[in-house]
Homo-oligomer: 345 residues x 4
């Protein structure tokens, strides 16, 4: 069994890691830390885990964590970079579900995250853990930068178009919408039921931290810088991201043709489902699952291709993808522990 440590287990991604790993055939959670909740039984904080196991949150202990095969950081930005070097030195592999290792450009990272980076020398070693793009690198990685939720949905949606040079990379629009769990389990007025319910709006419209991450992914796919407009919106619901993507075709293909190309591109991928042209992927159809569902559409008389991409922000957008990366790092079936069917309705 793979011995797993989780740092910062009191948020939604931590809870989701537990939900998945507690049913994983080859992994076992040995330690879960929380400075604020040290000593509290995990199931007292997360009643859905009652009776599943008897771990308590503990103070983070380098020795204990370093003795794990892999340590997941489900922490705020800036935490993993402080502890990763030591844990890697102790022989543990590290998966950061936050943003510390997502951007290759140090200056860009420090500008967007507003702090100096604690271990810039590791940025080059960190593998961006989007298996559908970097599977081989993930297999041999010791440090994984687990992608953001929006970047996962948007990158998987644009990838076939950019990798094959089918659209103008200078004019990409990503209109993305996320459930409230994407903001985490933080006591903020703006995330209250009475503030988020029965309403809808965009946020961070001047610029969101996930934009440079998406830009980095898309540029790598296009082989050149891209022009991206990314606008996130907050949905009056809990789980799910939908991204509606717009690009200008540089070749004249029907959406049936494009759907075939997407199917070829994602052939054999366990966690990408390409729906028929004109279909409408619903976030509900992936809730609780590690799937990304995609559909490609072209309206009559237009050269604009419309791509809809949906994921569960806590699974394929966070904890599920982290476990998918773990499976690859340890030579397991990539889908191990990730077979749950979405909960619908």
């Amino acid at each position: 069994m793979i011995k797993v440590g989780i740092v910062g287990g009191t948020g939604y991604t931590g809870a989701e890691l537990l939900r998945i790993l507690l049913r994983h055939p080859r992994a076992s959670v040995a330690v879960i830390t929380s400075r604020g909740e040290a000593g509290t039984a995990v199931s007292d904080l997360f009643p859905h885990l009652r009776g599943q196991f008897d771990l308590c949150f503990s103070e983070p202990d380098p020795v204990q964590l370093g003795a794990c095969d892999v340590v997941f950081f489900a922490t705020p930005n800036g935490t993993a970079m402080g502890q990763a070097p030591d844990l890697l030195a102790r022989g543990a592999r590290v998966v950061d579900l936050a943003a510390d290792f997502r951007l290759q450009d140090l200056a860009q990272w420090e500008a967007w995250y507003g702090m100096p980076h604690a271990c810039p020398h590791l940025l080059a070693d960190a593998v961006y853990g989007l298996p559908e793009l970097h599977r081989d690198a993930v297999r041999s990685a010791r440090l994984i930068a687990n992608p953001g939720c929006y970047p996962t949905a948007v990158t998987l949606g644009f990838a076939p178009l950019l990798a094959r040079g089918l659209v103008d990379p200078g004019w990409l629009i990503a209109d993305a919408k996320s459930g409230a769990s994407g903001a985490g389990r933080k006591a903020e007025t703006g995330l209250l039921m009475a503030e988020v319910g029965e309403g809808f709006k965009a946020y961070a419209v001047k610029g969101h931290r996930h934009a440079p991450e998406i830009g980095q992914n898309l540029a790598r796919l296009a082989g050149r810088p891209v022009g991206l407009t990314f606008v996130p919106h907050l949905l009056p619901m809990i789980r799910g991201i939908e991204a509606t993507l717009y690009a200008r075709l540089s070749v004249d293909l029907t959406d049936a043709d494009l759907t075939d190309l997407y199917r070829q591109h994602y052939l054999g991928e366990a966690f990408v489902d390409v729906m028929p042209a004109g279909a409408n992927p619903d976030t509900r159809s992936v809730r609780g699952s590690n799937l990304c569902r995609i559909a490609v559409t072209r309206q009559a008389g237009s050269d604009v291709v419309i791509v809809q991409s949906v994921i569960d922000n806590l699974v394929k957008g966070a904890a599920g993808q982290a476990v998918q990366n773990m499976n690859l790092m340890f030579g397991l079936d990539e889908a191990a522990g990730l077979g749950a069917i979405a909960l619908l309705p």
Copy 2:
């Protein structure tokens, strides 16, 4: 007092007309019809109207309706065009909240609505009732085509940019999201709480009936045909439309400049509120009110202008705008009966 008739009062737009007109200082509802519910007290169907008045639904009667000063059609598409000629001949003015008179192009209308038009000769007389664009025509109109909900939000959002030639009209994107009440009070599986709740998806992505209506509005503003991609989405909530609009600037203006232009453009408009650049209009801030709130944003290093536009689909997107048109047609204060403050939270 203006004597009002409402045809088809059992839907949400009918109920909203009643909610507004029952508090209108200069109008009085004389008759409300429903074939299906004839004889039923309106307050039995709509308990929030209990104690407000004692009308029952009645069978539509041309004489009774023709004796009204104005008749609102809160009916499915195809109903108003069958009765409007007779009512107009009887001296009543007509406001159709459905789509029968929204498109000037007969062939286009019949293609999108799948039926022959019953009175094509009236299309030229019908005034498209978006007061912020056609106030003078509305004042003298006898037949109003009340705009669709999406077209109201999208047209008001794009108008200043197109009227002033600030963007490339060939490349317009409208990513719109609507609450479930926009689909009406219809017993359809796809509109059930268990289908719409806690989920999000696009629909009619190959093409929606509101696209040609929006295109007609934008072309008139631009003085030439436009290239529009319109994608509607269904929100897990009841009231509210948010449209995020994307266009490519043909002039180099900051979003502060653009916001000033929007403020000038809508100067004196009672029902358009231009927020500061970078603000995020929330559908909740207009729920139950006749306002359209708009914000304009430009992200660093991009020539894309982002416009956010929000309305209450049942008020400014339907019943409220219909009453605003009635006020203009009868020389009343345009805001009469429309002063309610949005209900938030």
Copy 3:
């Protein structure tokens, strides 16, 4: 015009007071205070109020507040009792929307609210502002204890049964459910969309602060102490309280008989609507309105009477009732400014 001051205007009850008072024909808000937001324009915090007025939050100033005709405290428990004596001495009338003056029994108040009371001598002068029970006292009051939201719904539901001695007062059950806005605009993890949405549970099941307040009301109606079991629940929605009440009939009356008695009891009340026996009042039917809707039912073969009572917790349960009390205190039409029709759907 009545000159109004509002202390603590940054919460939901403060915003709701503004929504109502800004349309009140005889009142005008002169000052609204907030220590935390002093200097901020009210409409920056509450965008639905943009364009309605130009007040900013100010530091609470006794002179300025004392010069008002009436001061509403929309503050946490414990605030009003500190300032009320001074304001009363300055000639202002005071309406406390919090709990400081709701309980007549000092020891009980200090036990439930966990602090010493700052002005126990005022408890006897304070009038419990439930107009349907104490209208005359309210008219001549200088200090109003505005009832809690649960107590308003439960007391109005039980009142006719207890006042007429129709049930066993020793065995009363109140199963109450409230939307999340009832907990206020507080940054608490337990009130997040991701915690409250798509779920339902009871809370404070061992005992809630509103229980002694309800008990005091019911005992006064029954003329003797009552046995009450009150259990509040949190609804995955924003506005509305529904209370389902159970009592054992001591006389054999049909629910048609009981409904008649309720109608007689509330005859002439502008804000209590007794529905037919067996009806199901929906919180939506009172959302945004000052109404309490009640229905009485008896199941075949049972001596249990079931009373359903619904209100909008922010209106009849808070700000609306406060304005209703103000209207009475100043000799205005009791319904002035409270005529809004509920927003449905």
Copy 4:
């Protein structure tokens, strides 16, 4: 592998049976029928099942169904009783998720369900499939009446009190609340998002079909007829039932004592979790799982015991319990295929 047939697979319980059985280690779905959708791929109707299997809905065929080891009826009331005798004769076992075999009293059944019963002679053979009460009978059953969702939550909540004679059985209150999926996937106006969202009300307050079923269960536990008042409410959410139960203690026990008794009573039960006294079970903590979570509370100075019981209406309240019954009937591990952890948030 157990060969499974599902009759009427287009509703939510049918979809939930598929979600569970597709991951069951010892069962395989051989046929799923639907008259309305015959020929349609199941995954076209339920996109969350895309890629899971390739079954299409078929016309119900007695031979094909009769060749199954077990046939689940996920059909409207009145369907199973028409086909069960034939299927039983063909050697299949039958689990009816509807109400055809739930009531032992024929006259009572025909009165509540408004139709003559097609095979009254089978009522005595049918086993009421609540394993926590009738495990041995279920093991040897050939025909299972799968309990209703409300009866499951209410019966498990009251059982220890009644079985041990701790309360007055003549005065039982069950105030129950259910998500909208409990009403099924029916195109009814009353179940629309715009009707159910952001609102709350009771329904069927004069009497609900589940009341006699609950009464039958409780009477069997108490060994005498009981006096039950059952009031169901509709929650603005999709999945989950919470029942708050009230009874009068006939012995003086603390809620700590009562909690111990509940733990003893349910000792070894895989799907009943007794929480500490005063805890508040949340429907979210069982969403997607087969668990029933219960807490027992007594308020100071009262002889009323308050029991909170939560389940997922589609799992423990329907499909999960049906699979639990199947496991017992075929001598499998009772928990086989039912190990999913609840999805929270």
